[in-house]
């Protein structure tokens, strides 16, 4: 399609492991097509060249964990027409949000020789807690296919196809035999949002919930089933729910219920 000018794309990193940005670099076959349609204006993982804003589309990876980043995200928002957060860190606070359940100052005093140089916020929070986010793309890491889908949708002004229904729907479409029913393996698929194509059950593992809570997650019922039928303890549940999306509302509340009980 011919456009007056290519939209400017920027990729920003906050507290994260870079895995989601790498999903973009991982789009080997499609990378040229992307470069053909957008001007990659800021993507330090790929190139040190930085084009000044404003940007038409900003992809934001990572969570907010320091006062400095809390300010920086405001600047990014001001410089971006559309802001899309990518990955569990940006959409839910990430694995680093595990500290939200404890006292971070205590960690700092134990871990660092000079705690006074550490300027960290008490909680690791998702980008949407700080600025308006146009679209959230889930996953730890995000799925390459879904990222391409979001980019194409952005380019042609349509809604991306990223259903918020359960991983189970993808699992069944794929023809995978349910690991929970057939093997008694604990699986978070029924309360987790689709997007990965039900990867883990296809490799004989229960879902770890890396795409975060689905649209209507009934964690209470699933947890009760794990406890009565799969002999899961409160600690098992706590651990299963406190991973990449530990701080996402429904997972957090459920894990807190089991934290109190154990």
């Amino acid at each position: 399609m011919t456009r007056a000018r290519k939209p400017k794309l920027a990729v920003w990193k906050f507290a994260s492991c870079d895995g989601c940005q790498l999903s973009l670099l991982d789009c080997e076959d499609e990378l040229l097509a992307i470069a053909g349609e957008v001007e990659i204006a800021n993507f330090l993982e790929a190139s040190r060249a930085v084009v000044k804003g404003p940007y038409d589309l900003s992809l934001v990876e990572g969570s907010i964990t320091t006062p400095h980043d809390a300010k920086r995200i405001q600047q990014v928002r001001r410089a971006s027409k559309t802001l899309v957060t990518i990955g569990a860190c940006a959409t839910a606070g990430g694995i680093q949000a595990l500290r939200n359940f404890k006292d971070v100052q205590e960690f700092v005093s134990v871990v660092y020789a000079q705690p006074k140089y550490i300027d960290s916020l008490a909680k690791s929070t998702p980008i949407a807690d700080h600025v308006f986010v146009d679209f959230e793309l889930r996953g730890c890491p995000i799925s390459k296919q879904q990222l391409l889908e979001v980019l194409s949708a952005f380019l042609y002004g349509r809604k991306p196809n990223t259903p918020a229904s359960s991983v189970c729907l993808e699992c069944k479409r794929r023809g995978t035999t349910c690991v929970m029913v057939a093997q008694g393996t604990a699986c978070l698929g029924p309360v987790t949002q689709a997007g990965c194509g039900a990867l883990c059950p296809a490799y004989n593992r229960g879902c770890y919930g890396c795409f975060g809570p689905m649209e209507t997650p009934n964690t209470v019922s699933l947890a009760a089933w794990w406890q009565t039928e799969l002999d899961a303890s409160d600690l098992d549940l706590l651990r299963a729910l406190r991973t990449f999306n530990a701080y996402a509302g429904p997972f957090r509340k459920e894990s807190e219920a089991h934290d109190r009980k154990q």
């Binding site: 053909g36 349609e37 189970c168 035999t177 429904p250």
Partner: protein, 385 residues
């Protein structure tokens, strides 16, 4: 045509004859701890000596003490995967000078031979025939796949823990809709099948393989086995007046109670051999030169399913489960002239939290007059109404 007899040893030739006619064989086999339907090459690929033990939310394989090839009931897959595939491209469009050119997806006739179709599954195919081929809007993809298929049915000689086809009048004996129907018999010194011929095509094929007419005694033995299965149903469902009862139970407190357990995960609809709903997805490529429309199995348990301008019609879990059960057991009758349930038990087995359609329908029947059934005081993660 009188009932025929086929020895286990002739099964190989039977498969070869089907392949010679260009059929791709699809049948039961062991995969990842379950008996699933996939491409089949030889009789040894069948789940010889295996049996499934099913309960609410549970499925396990057990070794039998014989070498039965069809000694299981039904697994997580159904023939719906092949007749009404989980994902299908409907068309592609390419940008052109004047607009865009549309290219419809070519109809595929994969020429499937389905090996081991159970009575409940034949009824489910019959129901999907009505859904996809009856009325003014038909599905050409389903038609092409269905018309070309060769159906080798198998009578159940053992029922499963979640089976209730006897209640639904759909089994365990196959009645119509097959090319050939087998009943497996494991006599002390002989492994054979009695064969009923259901079509011209079936009769023609049988001619190509060694077989003989079955004796009265062989027929009686086979019939006895099927009769035993009829008495082994793990579940039952009383259908008398059920439609009226469900129509009168819109506000029954049981729906709230089920909603506390139901995950809205949609597994029940995915495994149900009669559920037919799909959604379409339009995607464009990065260059904006090409677009395509894809069709996927969808579920009435997803929020988007009933999304119309302004929101979702069935926003609560309660409304979604009520829709599913009431459609299956009541409104389906008004819509398509039969129940939408064939009693295969899949939704009970593959529900991750073991919700049992027969138990829920019975609970509503038994307590219809009683109002204000107490629901358990469990915590709610979110108010879901």
């Amino acid at each position: 045509m009188p009932v025929q007899l086929l020895d286990w040893e002739a099964l190989e030739e039977f498969f070869t004859a089907l392949k010679r006619r260009g059929f791709t064989l699809i049948g039961p086999q062991l995969q990842d701890g379950a008996i699933v339907y996939d491409q089949l090459e030889k009789p040894e690929d069948l789940p010889l000596g295996w049996q499934d033990v099913q309960d609410k939310g549970s499925y396990r394989l057990h070794q039998r003490d014989d070498e039965a090839a069809f000694g299981y009931v039904v697994g997580p897959h159904s023939w719906k995967r092949f007749l009404h595939p989980p994902s299908l491209r409907l068309w592609r469009a390419k940008r052109s000078e004047s607009g865009f050119d549309l290219q419809e997806e070519a109809l595929k006739d994969p020429k499937y031979a389905f090996i081991g179709v159970r009575a409940c599954e034949l009824s489910a195919i019959e129901i999907q025939n009505k859904v996809f081929l009856g009325g003014s809007y038909t599905d050409p993809h389903y038609r092409a796949r269905r018309q070309g298929a060769f159906i080798v049915a198998v009578n159940c000689t053992q029922a499963g823990g979640n089976c209730f086809c006897a209640s639904m009048g759909t089994g365990p004996k196959v009645e119509t809709g097959f090319d050939l129907a087998l009943t497996e018999v494991l006599a002390p010194s002989r492994h054979y099948f009695t064969v009923e011929v259901g079509s011209e095509q079936g009769a023609e094929l049988l001619k190509e393989i060694p077989h003989q007419e079955a004796s009265q005694q062989e027929i009686a033995t086979a019939q006895q086995l099927v009769a035993t299965a009829a008495g082994q149903m793990g579940r039952e469902l009383d259908n008398s007046g059920l439609k009226e009862i469900l129509y009168a139970s819109y506000d029954h407190p049981r729906w709230d109670e089920i909603a506390e357990r139901c995950l809205s995960c949609g597994n029940c609809t995915m495994v149900c051999p009669t559920c037919f709903c799909t959604t379409v997805e339009d995607v464009t490529d990065l260059s904006g030169q090409e677009a395509e429309r894809l069709r996927h199995w969808d579920s009435c348990f997803s929020i988007d399913f009933s999304y119309i301008h302004g929101g979702s019609v069935r926003a609560s879990g309660k409304a979604r489960y009520r829709q599913w059960l009431t459609h299956k057991l009541a409104s389906w009758i008004d819509q398509f002239g039969s129940s939408g349930c064939v009693g295969c038990g899949r939704c009970i087995t593959w529900c991750p939290v073991g919700i049992d359609i027969t138990a829920e329908a019975t609970a509503i029947r038994n307590s219809q007059a009683v109002t204000g059934v107490k629901t358990k005081g469990t915590r709610h993660v979110q108010a879901d109404h």
